[in-house]
């Protein structure tokens, strides 16, 4: 190959100039198909959370049923569930925790004299700095701009890292899709102005969807007037599910 210096400089310059140009051209070809959501819902105006008043939960399991129906949750798996705690004492005793069928069909009575007992509804805590998101090797799970931890099931490898990483046990592998599945905070509902399916059916309003960026949301009053707690605060996950009247024994 014999190139004069002039030819080389010419070719190289063309290449240097044209490579980004080609990239830009390819980018432009695609940009038309990227949907920018031209609708009323503005992500930047929301920061979703939930409040749960443990003192109001009656363990009816309506939330678990509604979640399964709304989101086609496979049998034996739960995006939300209710736990029953029975605490005999605060010494060395471990609290007794059960959740038959996720609490979906309620709880048979367990009367132990002298024990303290209550229900705790659980779901994805939609952490602002989520361990599950940090471990995903491909970017299939993420915190959305409005504060919801979601899964891109078409991009998930099913590697289960996030299932292990979640300190709250909120993720499972979908038995048919073999990808990870979890609570979406009913993203398809809350972006339409509806509340989540679990909050919709909760008969005592023990759980209430909250938008922390909405100054008129009653959540601000709730947080101001009550002693609230998140689960496992020492994990620094910045959970956004706030519990009122949460017992220290709850993990």
């Amino acid at each position: 190959m014999s190139l004069t210096r002039r030819e080389l400089i010419e070719k190289a310059t063309k290449f240097i100039l044209l490579t980004p140009a080609a990239a830009a051209a390819l980018e432009a070809l695609d940009s038309g198909s990227i949907d920018t959501m031209p609708d009323k819902y503005k992500q930047a105006e929301h920061w979703w959370a939930m409040t749960i008043d443990v003192e109001k939960c009656i363990g009816c399991g309506a939330c678990v049923q509604a979640c399964a129906k709304e989101n086609q949750v496979p049998d034996g798996h739960y995006r939300t569930w209710v736990e029953r705690y029975v605490i005999d004492g605060y010494g060395d005793e471990q609290p007794e925790v059960d959740s038959p069928d996720g609490g979906m069909h309620g709880f048979p009575d367990k009367n132990r004299p002298g024990a303290k007992t209550f229900f705790v509804p659980k779901l994805c805590n939609h952490c602002a700095t989520s361990p599950c998101v940090q471990v995903c090797p491909v970017g299939a799970t993420f915190e959305s701009p409005d504060g919801v931890v979601l899964v891109d099931e078409s991009y998930c490898l099913g590697c289960r890292y996030c299932v292990q990483a979640c300190p709250y046990g909120c993720r499972y592998i979908h038995p048919e899709k073999q990808t990870v599945d979890k609570c979406t905070l009913c993203y398809h509902r809350i972006t339409k102005g509806l509340t989540t399916a679990c909050c919709e059916v909760c008969p005592t309003q023990a759980r209430v969807l909250a938008d922390l960026k909405n100054p008129n949301d009653p959540v601000h009053e709730f947080l101001r007037n009550n002693a609230v707690q998140v689960l496992k605060p020492h994990m620094a996950t910045h959970s956004k599910v706030y519990y009122r009247n949460l017992d220290g024994a709850v993990r």
């Binding site: 190959m1 709304e70 309620g106 701009p145 991009y155 509902r189 909760c202």
Partner: protein, 155 residues
């Protein structure tokens, strides 16, 4: 005339490098899914895909749009916090239908449904009204005395 001795083969290396960069740009374009990085380290369009999931529970406000008489009654009683679909089940198919009568929600099984919340259980909050159904009514249907939309008897 040459500027310096190695211009020839350095040029070839430079050309190869540029070719590599070019190939990388093209390969990256096809390997990275569309919209990846639009909002962060994930596929941006997935938000829209998740939002496309169908709604099963219409929501209380939608129910109240047509059944304002029941809503009014409910609002005046102890069951005011209970959403319509808590008892009547998911009714988006009924609410969004051109012919709601064709998707009429079945009447709930009162005894089982009432018991789900009101059956006595020691783990329930102490101030929540709960009964032992057999002791309370001897197996009589709850609706014989209580109207679920305004549960206080005689209200």
């Amino acid at each position: 005339m040459r500027w310096f001795r190695d211009a020839g083969h350095l040029g070839r290396v430079a050309l190869l490098l540029l070719l590599g960069v070019g190939l990388f740009v093209v390969a990256r374009h096809f390997a990275v899914p569309r919209g990846f990085g639009q909002y962060g380290h994930y596929r941006g369009p997935v938000l829209k895909e998740i939002r496309a999931h169908p709604v099963s529970y219409a929501g209380r406000e939608v129910c109240e749009g047509c059944h304002s008489d029941v809503a009014e009654k409910l609002a005046g009683g102890r069951h005011k916090t209970v959403g319509c679909e808590s008892c009547h089940g998911a009714q988006a198919a009924h609410a969004n239908s051109d012919d709601p009568g064709a998707h009429k929600p079945p009447l709930p099984n009162a005894l089982a449904l009432c018991a789900r919340c009101h059956q006595q259980n020691h783990s329930k909050p102490k101030n929540f009204p709960q009964v032992d159904a057999m002791e309370h009514s001897g197996g009589e249907k709850c609706t014989s005395c209580h109207n679920p939309h305004q549960p206080k008897p005689g209200a």
